[in-house]
Symmetry: D2
Subunit: 479 residues, 4 copies
């Protein structure tokens, strides 16, 4: 309420109580002021009531909520369903304009503010998480793959002749498809085996650059976060190589914001060489629903170019989710999530190690992968051909989600490209294995339950000798 209404209230209930209420309101306003002034994630998280107050204030500024508005356009922010209006806090106009996803909408000052603030708060978090020199970023309501495609499409205008994208292999479909979708030819560079780890074959990359000619290469497309035993790409070296050859460099940092190691690699890459853009998932790093990504970079002009490449308005829903989340957790809350994740990574590693040795398997030694772990399944494989895939099936049934079982020698063709040893990032990884990851939001209970159920399943499979049930088609997929 404004001061006039507070004054009127003093006539109805005692002035001293109203004044205290009015002062309390200023407490909330003060938090909003700091956000508007600094554009940073607040140190301490806001209460739900402050968050909702703020969102209601934003909504009131959008023309579809004007009490006296009359609309004779083709897009007026009308909403047929009250359920829908409410779940979006009556913020209906989305973000951006036809020319630019980061543009301000005349009809929707509140939604525009939401968009600007979200990008600003997210930028702050990227800095806090380790990429201190990031210059600009924006949230886009597309998942990582499509966002990578948008980066490639933007680069096309800078490098009209280029046809190839150099891509150190990582067996995840959407990042591969992002290149296909954008209309480029992926040049797959196989990884090298170093102990248990699969790491970037830098010499092969260099060879490819020379073979194809730098001017024909749109960019190098590298990856940080990935499933063990693959480890993050050698970003420093790749970035330096890109700088040397004047080739753009786009990093798929899908769920890397949650790991200080991944973020450090990007920061270092940008320092010593060239990184044009790095893309990260909203859901995987910020515990929001699937469907958004952050496109970030060290040159604000290039990032703006990408944002202008998105034709038309876009859904504000992912922006709203991440803003609510970060205002609620605050910077401190988010950091706490990160440190807990790290801690549980160690616990998970230890527990898997113990379990592995109890079952005659071993935890693969992949110290450079800060999130994902892999446990060999050699022994299980020995008991029966089907045992490995059966394990996957059993874990699915027992509600262990996210554990992946990787059998040997799977072959898969995607858009005409054939990958031998698919899912293992390698044509011939020495052993079948099981993956488990410590991702943001994981709890000690998740680990305990997973280990318990995994132990039971392994025991059951061994007891059977040859497992009775037929393998499920799910078994070898990432569930």
């Amino acid at each position: 309420m404004n001061s006039e209404n507070f004054l009127l209230s003093e006539k109805i209930v005692s002035p001293s109580y109203v004044r205290q209420g009015s002062q309390a309101r200023r407490g909330h306003e003060q938090l909003i002021r700091q956000l508007l002034e600094q554009g940073k994630c607040p140190e301490e998280g806001w209460s739900e009531s402050t968050v909702e107050l703020f969102l209601n204030e934003l909504a009131v500024m959008d023309s579809n909520n004007f009490l006296g508005n009359c609309g004779v356009g083709e897009r007026e922010g009308r909403v047929a369903s009250g359920l829908v209006a409410r779940r979006h806090y009556r913020l209906i106009h989305g973000i951006g304009r036809s020319g630019d996803i980061a543009a301000i909408q005349p009809k929707a000052a509140g939604s525009s503010l939401l968009n600007k603030l979200t990008n600003s708060v997210v930028l702050d978090i990227l800095k806090l998480s380790g990429v201190r020199s990031v210059a600009s970023c924006f949230v886009v309501p597309m998942a990582t793959g499509m966002s990578l495609a948008l980066c490639f499409l933007t680069l096309r205008h800078r490098r009209p002749k280029a046809r190839y994208i150099i891509w150190p292999r990582i067996d995840q479909k959407s990042c591969f498809k992002s290149m296909i979708t954008a209309g480029f030819e992926p040049v797959v560079v196989e990884n090298v085996l170093d102990g248990d780890e699969l790491r970037t074959d830098l010499e092969a990359v260099e060879r490819k650059v020379e073979e194809l000619g730098a001017e024909n290469i749109l960019c190098v497309h590298s990856t940080t976060s990935c499933f063990a035993p693959r480890v993050p790409d050698s970003l420093e070296e790749l970035a330096a190589m890109c700088a040397k050859h004047n080739i753009p460099h786009v990093v798929n940092n899908a769920y890397g914001v949650q790991s200080s190691k991944c973020m450090h690699l990007i920061q270092q890459g940008a320092r010593v060489g060239r990184i044009d853009a790095f893309v990260q998932s909203l859901d995987k790093n910020f515990m929001v629903p699937v469907g958004g990504a952050i496109i970030a970079g060290f040159d604000a002009a290039f990032i703006e170019e990408i944002s202008k490449m998105y034709p038309g308005r876009a859904s504000a829903s992912p922006s709203l989710d991440v803003l609510i989340t970060l205002l609620t957790t605050g910077a401190n809350g988010y950091k706490k999530y990160l440190s807990e994740r790290k801690e549980i990574y160690s616990i998970l590693a230890e527990e898997l190690k113990r379990l592995a040795s109890a079952h005659g398997e071993r935890l693969l030694h992949t110290p450079h992968n800060p999130i994902s772990l892999a446990m060999s399944l050699d022994g299980l494989q020995a008991t029966s051909d089907k045992a490995v895939t059966q394990l996957g099936s059993m874990l699915f049934t027992r509600q262990v989600s996210g554990a992946r079982v990787i059998p040997l020698g799977k072959e898969q063709t995607i858009n005409g490209y054939t990958f031998r040893g698919f899912m293992s990032h390698s044509e011939s990884y020495p052993c079948p294995y099981l993956n488990a990851a410590s991702a943001i939001g994981i709890t000690r209970e998740d680990v305990a339950l997973c280990i318990k159920r995994l132990d039971k399943s392994l025991k059951a499979l061994k007891k059977e000798g040859k497992a009775a049930r037929s393998p499920s088609p799910l078994a070898s997929q990432n569930l």
Copy 2:
């Protein structure tokens, strides 16, 4: 509750009352059954409580809501904020998989069901709205422009040599940019003036096809819904031409679902010639928040190809919105919106005509545009150079949203292409004018208020002779 729980309830409250409650529950279940069985929009809208019951049921089927789930993957549908979880009905996993936006997710049977049903219900509505022979469609969480770009990117794989897209001019940025984003060269075909109307220059299109060579043309990119005095493209003739030359044809049907004329054009085009895909906005046709589109077509295989071109999972938010909306309105409710829109179009036309003649202007004669109307501003222009832009500014201030003022001779360059007479779809339209549209959800009150405020503004401007206030930068833009 299941039957066991109903039985237990009978011991607590009277069996006959519980039985009636249980029977009432079956009423809701029955509605859900019909939806699952037929995959169609229900005739009569559901109550909010049935809708929420259904969404809760879906959510319960997703692994992030399993009571005994333990997650050790990198994407577990965790949500940090309760506000966020609730506003998505705890449906967190989005839609699609890395390979295909229409694919089923093992971790999320509920979200997968949501996705399939939404596409099915939306297909039903497209049929009901006039495109009876549509074969397949899917909702994509991107606005129209980006969705058009996705169609073009898909076509690239079918026509690797093609570089051009033939595009009868329509002055709307995002559809122009969709071609740029996808990496193609737009070939702009100017419209011809026919009375007051601007319509497709079919001969010029034909000439361009011959000039460039069919194999070098990715597709013809035509438009239905548009601002008067432009009218929908001559889809039948274009479709026939495309069939003849074996050129794909993509139709931008942005807000055309709400008009039986636009839908009829598409249906006829597909019947007599070739339409590969037609794309429509969710927000503009279904009164949901900005950010989604429907990609539809007559060949299910091609539509599937597009859906597979989207790399990675995607936000379920637009799908959820449109599903809630259509279940709530029902087919009958939606049809009622359509007929009301049509009725108010006539009222708006009549009122504008009356107003125009009172001010010495005239309603442009554009009978082929079923949604948008234009009123000349010659007289206003005569009073002062700035008067036309000032009118725009005044309407903005008076909360008339969506009315656009189009001055003469504006020039604008977009991605290196210069458009003379920008916003008027023509290099030299004979007069300045004002647009107003009767779009879905418009009310009689909108029309009355708009006419009243427009009348006042025009009077004020004329009284001034020369308007006192300085023109606002907003004046000539689409607010």
Copy 3:
């Protein structure tokens, strides 16, 4: 947001858009201002967003929502469940203080404002609905019966010697029990039959007064709204009699606010004689959940005395419900409900008349009852003893709720008092009958469905001759 925050916002998005947003906010504030200033129900209903904005503003003023509050008392408005906090808009402190349900709470300026405003808005509605000279009222979170008891308990302090309450018979348990609960002896005055109508036996009342002695009588307890064929008590005459004998007069106006006739009776009674308090249900008159009532009267001091008789704080939930409802409907919306109800009363009467004659029954002639109607069941009774009760059972099963079937000669004992012909307000009403009412919120569809199902049921019963199924225990009760 306050002006400082709007200024900051202008740096982030365009000043002119922010200014329009800020102006739009003033639109909401203006509505709130009028409410605070006038304390009246707004003419036009508020939008949901204004209502929620207002409630959030109130909540912010309560100490449990102060960001810097620390609590070391025994009642701090803490809430363990987020679901609970949200459903009460974080207004936790209830209304009133230990001394007085209308008192202001130092800890809760917002809740106090809510309480004061609700009472004020409700008073306005009572005036609008016909009791123009009502002086004061308050909402109490107890249903009508308990609220009547509170009135009687208050009167006890004024009339310590009085033991009797004179009560023209109405067969509804809770108003009878209200006298028992308060510790008084009800003196039941049977009604007189006048045509089909049962009306107040004024002479019998007068006789009782003289017989018992005015000083021994706590009050006369009369009733307006009731089931036909009983009609509202003769309030004018009773009020005059009370004035003459100096006996307090409490009116049970349970669902009478919705009827201009009932309200007129009260207004007239107070004008010509004495009415100390009249009590009405919230749920039955304002379409809110069960559980609240309004205690109103013409002497503010006496009403305050009652409010001070409620020991302790009380739930704000009924106040919140009725305030939300009236702000949402506005005075005009509420009046529209009233006129629709009246209109549907005529339809229901006509339809029942038609149906009755088709089945050889008749609509009882009860023109003085403005809400409830009764249709004879003589013919049905003739077919079988059980047929009348079976009809009740059938209607229950067919989801006709609220229709009551009244067989002949039911006897019931309540708290030691035996009522012959219970449910019919008379020891020996001439015929069995069925009740149906046109109450606020009823729709034409309710009437149509009810008539259809009633017709079917009557036909079925007659076909059977003797009905096959056994009578349900529900049959003769008010469902």
Copy 4:
């Protein structure tokens, strides 16, 4: 969804995923089954989604949510405002029937179930909290005072001659008023000073019983939870005395459920003597909004008599709140709240002791009061007459809520009864003091902030010597 709908879903998405979803649904059903079967508070709290699922299921069973219902009664559970419907989960019919607040409603099987289960769950919690032999209880939507009045009103019918209620003094208005409201004459028995503690004067009670005659005494009305330095009444002795003289005994256990000591006193009292009913607040013990109470006792028949004394239906809102809360916390969660409260009581005592000695005051020695503490203000009083009341004012302004400042010699008249030394439970307590309590839900931060602000305030007051600002009228009240 029922099994038929799950089967249909299997045709749309993969059967194995749907089956897992269906199995997950059974997880929720299982929790509901246990609740229905055992009627106990679940050990572990339910997730929000299970709670909402359950409430939605209940709502579906109420006739106002029947899809095919038609209503022609005067109370049909219609709701005019969607906001209101939603906040009550569409449970509109309240609880109870006209005859009995615990009765089952034919129109509302779901609400009836809610009512029964709430009473059952609450009974379980009373047992867990220490009153193991409690036989029956019910939730009533009235605060403690009005609930006590209802008990007294019920007893009147058992003891028609009785006029007096014997009441060991406790200076809290609503419990005093409850006797006045019910129409009885409170017989105030002053407490005795024992060290710093004020405790029951058992001999005086005995004397009063003999003086007035047992048959003229309605009951003894004792108290457990209270502000220090008063301590809980000597329940065992009072109960024994009541048994001996055959006098009913009603215990005001306002916020005593949270204290094992208070609950133990009741359990012991009932074991060795007579306790007819004990009444506790919902908000103060269960962290729900103000407005409900639990009436409990050891003789189910008497408790039922009270429930039948409530005339008419009642609000379900307090029942809903406490049920949601207890399902969410679970028994373990509730017990954890209790143990934390106890722990923080020790911390608060220690901190106050330290602070007191630093300021030349002392913590009063009141070991028998398990919740409230008192710190002397002798020194402060010495500096200035007004200093004590000013302290109250300062704490209010500094957002320390719930701390009460008790000056010497306040006199207050309530309903004609004059209390000397009001607020101190004694006509002449030796010193002024300040109260602070460790009530359920208190946090360590509350204590830290309170101590800090109290310290600052005391320092400021002493610095002033004579405080500058004028005393606020709030100062001596319980804020």
